[in-house]
Amino acid sequence: MKILVCIKQVPDQESRITVDPEKAWAGYAENASYWINRYDEHAVEAALQIREKLPGTMIDIVSIGPARVKAAIRRCMEMGADQGFHLRYEHEDYLSPSIKSRLIAEFCRDRDYDLILTGVMSEDMMSGQTGPMTAARLGIPSAASVMKLEVDLEKQCLYVERELDAGHRCFMELKLPALAAVQSGINRPRYPSLSNVMRAKSTEIEEISYDDSLLDAKYETVEKVLEAGSDRAGLTLQGSTAEKAAALWQLLHERSLI
């Protein structure tokens, strides 16, 4: 069995962002730290759990992004993935999921993956498109918001549980090859073991070239980034910790809430 996990590296959400009015994009501070998109860590863990049940399974990792994403790919290999592939894209701007999914589908073409895993969304862009679009381009079934996965090699199918709104669930079987976009709560991602860390050190991450013309397709673009709209008055308390605590008590008391 061959599994591909698509991962994205995202900025730590507490990193400062600045909006440059000249540019249609927001910049993160120079010293921003980056991590693996949380949902993708769950996807890697799901792949590792499948391999534990089906020894001999190969797990590949792929990520599109600038040089820094190698660190995220390496981390997945430290968790236990077998091979890492990097599609270089140097710009820090909006890259349409339509293009990303075309790049990933192109990458998959002759590699015969039985199962592709993605996160349900990326923490920074929150679009949730890359997974289902990749599946559609490959002509394979997909399920989003997956809370449970089991592979049945004999039947060549994937059993999935999807989370629906208000906590309801949907259960189904998808014919392999298939794609699942996993939701948090599916598992607890493991920490890298020392032996995997050592092994990952000596494994190359392969850079994959692709047809640049795919980047020129005229899909939707982001024209402007702006402050999120605010629905409430938003009074920010000032002073020392104790002063703020006293002010909060007073405000709640005035509103008969305490």
Binding site: R16, D124, A144, S145, C170, V222, E223, L251
Partner: protein, 323 residues
């Protein structure tokens, strides 16, 4: 009319759900700009359907559409798109919508914008607003290749006038059978939590509490109020700090207490969806740019490990009549 908009109804067992009227409202706004024709499409196994207000209805009828599958819905959408040649396709951003809408966009090789929260019309152009960057910023999108598939957040548009004249209903009998998907069934969860549902004050913990032990702080803070309950973000529940029946948000509970205190919660739109109707919202977060502050009446930029004990001391002082 040259410009055409197609919406796909949100339905349950052939019954059109109210969020469909929000999609119609969104379509009416865009349609007003382009002077578009608007058609609603209902995939299902429903040979006998009521008309809907404000738009014509095209029913794609097939036994294979008796229940939702991404495969079935995508085929129905492609069939309808072949007929209606839409410039824009509008789908609800629900657990079904985000499952199949990106697939439809890819198969039509159009553009796609998900979880749209607003439409901006200015200078003779139309822009789609959605949230990004961990909810801290909004982005304005310009459409690209057509058709453009958008998914619209439930609650983002006030429902379209349901008194408007009903449109025509047209049926298209199809033979759609999912071939990659089988054994589909559903379960209804029972995640009741009466204490949380009836609470007047909800103290909610997010990932920012850092560790299970800090739940004690949240409990002690809750104890400062009458009729209070504790709740959590999805991450707090995923981490096992709280049961899932205490999760607030899109996939958890919707609460509307007199007071909601968000402790170490970033304020992603999926969390906001569950608490935005609270009367007063207080947030404690150490990140001054956290999105939750945009949805708060009182903002406290502090480390919760320092602030909550200070607040508890303050409440005790008043309780003991020392002030």
């Amino acid at each position: 009319m040259d410009h055409s908009i197609m919406i796909i109804c949100e339905q349950s067992e052939g019954r059109i759900l109210p969020v469909t009227y929000e999609l119609l409202a969104c379509a009416a706004r865009i349609g007003g700009f382009y002077n578009s024709s608007i058609t609603a499409v209902l995939p299902g196994n429903t040979p006998d359907t009521d008309a809907i207000s404000g738009a014509d209805l095209l029913v794609i009828n097939s036994p294979g559409l008796a229940e939702y599958t991404a495969e079935g819905w995508e085929k129905a959408a492609l069939l309808a798109a072949g007929e209606l040649k839409p410039n824009i396709i509008i789908i609800a951003h629900t657990s079904t919508g985000y499952d199949y809408a990106p697939r439809v966009a890819a198969l039509l090789d159009g553009s796609c914008i998900t979880s749209v929260s607003g439409i901006e019309l200015s200078d003779g152009s139309i822009r789609y607003r959605r949230s990004g960057f961990h909810g801290k910023l909004d982005m304005l999108y310009k459409e690209g290749k057509q058709p453009l598939v958008i998914t619209v957040l439930p609650g983002a548009f006030p429902a379209y006038d349901q008194q408007a004249a009903p449109g025509m209903v047209r049926y298209m009998n199809a033979d759609i059978q999912p071939v990659h998907t089988s054994n589909v069934h559903f379960s209804i969860s029972d995640q009741s939590n009466t204490e949380l549902e009836h609470a007047e004050v909800v103290i909610a913990a997010g990932k920012g509490i850092g560790k299970a032990e800090n739940l004690e702080l949240i409990r002690e803070m809750a104890a400062c109020f009458n009729r209070s309950a504790i709740a959590g973000s999805r991450v707090a529940c995923d981490n096992g700090w709280l049961e899932y029946n205490a999760q607030v948000g899109l996939t958890g509970k919707k609460v509307s207490p007199q007071l909601y205190v968000a402790c170490g919660i970033s304020g992603s739109m999926q969390h906001i969806a569950g608490m935005k109707d609270s009367k007063t919202v207080v947030s404690i977060n150490r990140d001054p740019d956290a999105a939750i502050f945009k949805n708060s009446d009182i903002c406290i930029i502090e480390d919760l490990e320092k602030f909550i004990p200070a607040f508890i001391r303050e409440a005790e002082k008043h309780h003991e009549g020392r002030v």
